[in-house]
């Protein structure tokens, strides 16, 4: 896809890179946050059981 701003192939490549890099950050965050949420849910259930 050509760059929507400048329509140049270089701009398109840079944009693709930006999207790929941002996607990696979001992906890693999703995995880590997902595990933390899972731990939190376990803790919550344990809490409810003990209460």
């Amino acid at each position: 896809m050509a760059c929507p701003i400048c329509n140049s192939p270089e701009g398109a490549a840079i944009n693709d890179g930006m999207r790929a890099g941002a996607a990696i950050l979001i992906l890693a965050l999703t995995v880590v946050a997902g595990m933390i949420v899972r731990y939190g849910v376990t803790l919550w259930r344990q809490d409810q059981r003990d209460a």
Binding site: C3, A20, A51
Partner: protein, 699 residues
């Protein structure tokens, strides 16, 4: 006094952060002087302190003004407000509110403070090096920051250390809350203040590594001559920049910086919300309205705050896909903010309100935060951001969130808990003078900024826009704002006097002590350990540490992918598969165990891996292959270097376990096995990162 006691660490954080608050304030006063009377000489005594080299004849140089701008923001955010909100209040009051006798890892907790102090001193010391302190704004945008003077290195090192300090503090807060609560204090019964600190800690843990990765990249650009952030054909002063390979991307810095930078806003705001909730419930004599709703909102807000970062980058031409995504997430995050503020206001409904000093600060927080939040909406829309970006409007917006917003909440907390901490009370009259003076002056300083920004005047102008026709009508406002800033300084004197006079007031505090801390005596819970000494704390602690490390390496790999996918061409893979290194590293993990012999073998293999890495690097450098050769080698040297530092850390710790630490194996078997299990997980993580590096560079 025990240096590892959570109250000692909390007080250390608090006192140091207040000192840095003063430093940041004084830097602001100098800036305001310049903005009010640009190009005119300062009084001789100010020039004496600033130095003739920074202000020849008393006239401030633009270069020095830029230092003030960069360091005011950096000091206020990283060294004053966040450490006060998330370091001081969390360390002192989270254990008290959940009935924990101590933080989960007291020694690491103390270390987090000392690292923060070292970072602060390093950053401030940069004023005295040649060229002065950092001067590329608190955002340190590349490529400007890359080609700046030595002070920028100090800034980067300081930021990296603050990241380590934040991670240690965050791990402590999270593990203490998860496994240190007294019987009966379930998650659903935790005070909202504790929830706010929990989410704050999670944000710091997961977001700060991105800025650490960015700081490593920028240090490599500055010290090793790489060009992560330097594009090809960069001109400096009309001349092409020499001696760099180019091909880098300045936007990589912005992505990584704002990945922390935006959650950092919530790191400021969430503890403030927590403190205000305590003060309002106590002084309105009402329980928190919508506790469950508020907890849900703060959880949602914490999660969303991690995926809004690029709304700071709408003008970078990052494309409609990313712009659309971040615009939508930005508007979604305003919903929990409204829920929180509404709940705090509704808590007042039907209450019997006491308008004492902490309550006044807490009540003022609500509209101030409201103004800050609502003025952020036009900035979250890409279309209106085109005109508002980088104007005084933005400065007004975020200062309403931080200065009369968060700082007021912190003052509320200080007044509210001062009797609990010291057993002495503060004078109400002095407190109210402090409040009303600050409230009026803050608005006189920041409200005109919206109008100035809407008139199109850019921020960070050394002369406040005196050389631009459209800024002429705003110049007199700058003078008025400066007078208000001076008055704001004067109105802080009653606060200082109040603190000093409190030494003589021995009577116990007012009703403030009744809430939140449960009338606990400050020393009542010192000197003991959490009830769970063994595996659960260590297990969660190491998982959280690894989570933070995952984000660090994800950020580094994200940079690599951004550059590689965005490059027109990329050099071929590194030749030869690193069999020996791989065998050594996997061997170090496989050999690791609870016996001393296993630890020694693991330590030896780990150290050998590091030695191999050093020898390999030396051979490459000898053959003329440098980090600055091209982007591929820049990425390779950086990623393998950071990884090798982790292997070295693991090997040294394993060596310590085999040596001085081995006595625990006999003394406290359960803790020993927990420690072994935690370290084994670390080794496996280091292995995994190595395999990713091999997959990225050798095929």
């Amino acid at each position: 006094m025990r240096w590892t006691d959570h109250k000692t660490v909390g007080l250390q954080y608090g006192i140091t952060a207040l000192f840095f608050l003063l430093v940041g304030f004084l830097l602001m006063i100098l800036m305001r002087w310049q903005l009010a009377w640009p190009g005119q000489p300062m009084p001789a005594w100010i020039t004496f302190f600033v130095g003739e080299s920074n202000a020849p004849g008393g006239i401030m140089l633009p270069e020095f003004y830029n230092q003030l701008v960069a360091m005011h923001g950096s000091v206020m955010v990283f060294l004053a407000v966040v450490p006060l909100a998330a370091g001081a209040f969390a360390n002192y009051f989270v254990p008290l509110q959940i009935g924990a006798p101590e933080m989960a890892f007291p020694r690491l907790n103390a270390l987090s403070y000392w690292l923060y102090l070292a970072a602060g001193l390093i950053m401030v010391a940069s004023f005295f090096v040649e060229g002065g302190a950092a001067r590329s704004g608190w955002t340190s945008y590349a490529p400007l920051a890359v080609i700046e003077t030595t002070g920028q290195n100090f800034w980067l090192i300081g930021i990296f250390l603050i990241g380590v300090s934040s991670a240690l503090n965050a791990i402590n807060v999270i593990v203490t809350i998860a496994h240190g609560r007294a019987a009966g204090i379930t998650l659903a019964k935790m005070p909202f203040f504790v929830w706010s600190q929990l989410i704050t800690a999670l944000l710091l843990l997961l977001a700060f590594p991105a800025l650490q990765a960015a700081a490593i990249f920028q240090l490599m650009d500055r010290v090793a001559g790489t060009s992560f952030f330097l594009p090809s054909g960069l001109m400096v002063g009309g001349v092409p920049l020499q001696g760099v390979a180019g091909g880098g991307n300045p936007l990589l810095w912005q992505h990584l910086f704002w990945f922390l930078g935006h959650p950092e806003v919530y790191v400021l705001i969430l503890p403030a919300m927590g403190i205000v909730s305590e003060v309002i419930t106590a002084n309105a004599r009402r329980p928190l309205w919508g506790y469950g709703l508020m907890v849900s909102a703060v959880l949602f807000m914490g999660g969303m705050s991690m995926v809004v970062w690029a709304h700071h980058m709408f003008l970078t031409g990052m494309g409609t896909t990313l712009t659309g995504f971040f615009q939508v997430t930005t508007f979604i995050i305003s919903i929990p903010s409204v829920i929180l503020i509404s709940s705090l206001v509704l808590t007042l409904w039907g209450g019997s309100i006491t308008f004492n000093t902490p309550m006044l600060f807490a009540l003022a927080f609500l509209p101030m935060f409201g103004i800050g939040g609502l003025t952020g909406l036009p900035l979250g829309l890409a279309a209106s951001d085109v005109t508002l970006h980088d104007t005084y409007y933005v400065v007004g917006h975020f200062h309403y969130l931080v200065a009369p917003g968060t700082v007021f909440a912190l003052f509320a907390g200080i007044y509210y808990w001062f009797p609990t901490i010291t057993g002495r009370s503060l004078d109400e009259m002095l407190g109210k003078i402090h409040f009303w003076g600050s409230f009026v002056c803050m608005n006189l300083i920041f409200m005109p900024m919206f109008a100035i920004g809407l008139m199109g005047v850019n921020r960070r102008l050394w002369d406040a826009g005196a050389s631009y026709a459209h800024a002429q009508p705003t110049l007199q406002w700058q003078t008025h704002m400066t007078y208000a800033a001076f008055a704001l300084g004067l109105f802080q004197i009653p606060f200082v006097v109040n603190l000093l006079l409190a030494r003589t007031r021995r009577e116990p505090g007012t009703g403030n002590r009744e809430a939140g801390t449960g009338k606990r005596e400050p020393e009542a819970n010192s000197g003991s350990h959490l009830p769970d000494p063994g595996s659960r704390r260590a297990k969660l602690g190491i998982w959280l540490f690894i989570a933070s490390e995952v984000m660090l390496f994800a950020s580094l790999f994200s940079g690599y992918v951004m550059l590689r996918a965005g490059a027109a061409s990329w050099p071929g893979p590194v030749g030869g598969f690193p069999w020996l290194e791989t065998v050594l590293l996997v061997g170090a993990s496989a050999a690791f165990g609870a016996k001393r012999s296993q630890l020694v073998v693991s330590n030896t293999l780990g150290l050998t891996f590091v030695i191999m890495k050093v020898l390999n690097d030396a051979a490459l450098l000898g053959n003329g292959i440098l980090p600055s050769t091209n982007l591929m080698w820049a990425c390779w040297f950086t990623l393998t270097g950071v990884h090798a530092a982790h292997v070295l850390g693991g090997a040294v710790f394993t060596g310590w376990l085999a040596g001085p630490g081995f006595s625990m194996a006999a003394d406290d078997r359960e803790r020993w096995l927990a420690r072994i299990d935690a370290t084994r997980k670390y080794w496996l993580f280091v292995d995994l990162v190595w395999l990713l590096i091999v997959a990225s560079f050798y095929f």
